[in-house]
């Protein structure tokens, strides 16, 4: 179980290959990779995203989210990688990978990790466009996505 914060780009495929290697009981691997798009939320061409974070809390919060996922589902392993700093279009921002014996577990845990990460991990995005730099507004849809895990 690993949580990693870094400014450098990462290679999702290589990360997951390393994670899966020699795991005999794993039948299902689900990955989510969040990429930097080439457009700002308002549609303008995007130069870059700048991700600010609260380092000590980000590490602690991601570890709490991962522990919660492991308590809810029988995971063989999980990986969370999140970048900070300046990120160019096409580059990866975040990676979530879940390894499990069965696919339903791997899917549910990966979605849960992403939903919670979006609403509770202390990262803030700025968009850099020709018009200047502006903070990205939080989306109600993200709160709703995280909320569904606390029902029932």
């Amino acid at each position: 179980m690993t949580v990693r914060l870094q400014s450098e780009p990462f290679d999702s495929g290589a990360e997951v290959a390393r994670l899966s290697e020699g795991r005999a009981g794993v039948g299902a691997v689900v990955t989510f990779t969040g990429l930097c798009r080439d457009r700002a939320d308002n549609g303008a061409p995007l130069e870059a995203l700048i991700l600010e974070h609260y380092p000590e809390m980000a590490q602690a919060e991601l570890e709490r989210i991962e522990a919660e996922a492991r308590a809810r589902w029988p995971l063989v392993d999980a990986l969370l990688v999140h970048r900070y700093g300046r990120i160019r279009p096409g580059e990866p921002i975040v990676l979530v990978a879940t390894l499990s014996a069965h696919r339903a577990t791997a899917f549910a845990a990966a979605e849960f990790l992403m939903d919670y990460l979006k609403t509770s991990a202390p990262f803030w995005k700025q968009e850099e466009t020709a018009a200047g730099t502006g903070w990205v507004a939080a989306k109600d849809a993200d709160d709703a996505a995280a909320e569904r895990w606390s029902r029932g």
């Binding site: 609260y54 809390m57 602690a60 975040v94 202390p122 803030w124 903070w135 939080a138």
Partner: protein, 83 residues
């Protein structure tokens, strides 16, 4: 206690962090925010968004009515937009 500010809260306050001694009677996160707003126009502007501003006490999310007694580090920031 140490206060930390992030994203546009940081920009509006004009500081990334500072050490403060809140007066007696400031017992919760909400009371601390009220007290900070009285410290000047930068603070007033930073905290005018009210409930949109989130807080963390010692690196854990905290509600407005959470007690700040014994807190070492309190952070204020907008809703998160990572991922």
């Amino acid at each position: 206690m140490k206060l930390k500010y992030f994203a546009w809260v940081r920009e509006r306050v004009g500081l990334a962090e500072e050490d403060v001694d809140a007066p007696a009677g400031v017992a919760t996160v909400a009371e601390l925010v009220d007290w900070l707003r009285g410290r000047g126009p930068d603070y007033e502007r930073a905290f005018a968004a009210g409930p949109a501003i989130r807080a963390a006490i010692d690196k854990r999310h905290a509600k407005p009515d959470a007690s700040i007694a014994g807190a070492g580090e309190i952070a204020f920031f907008p809703p998160m937009t990572g991922g």
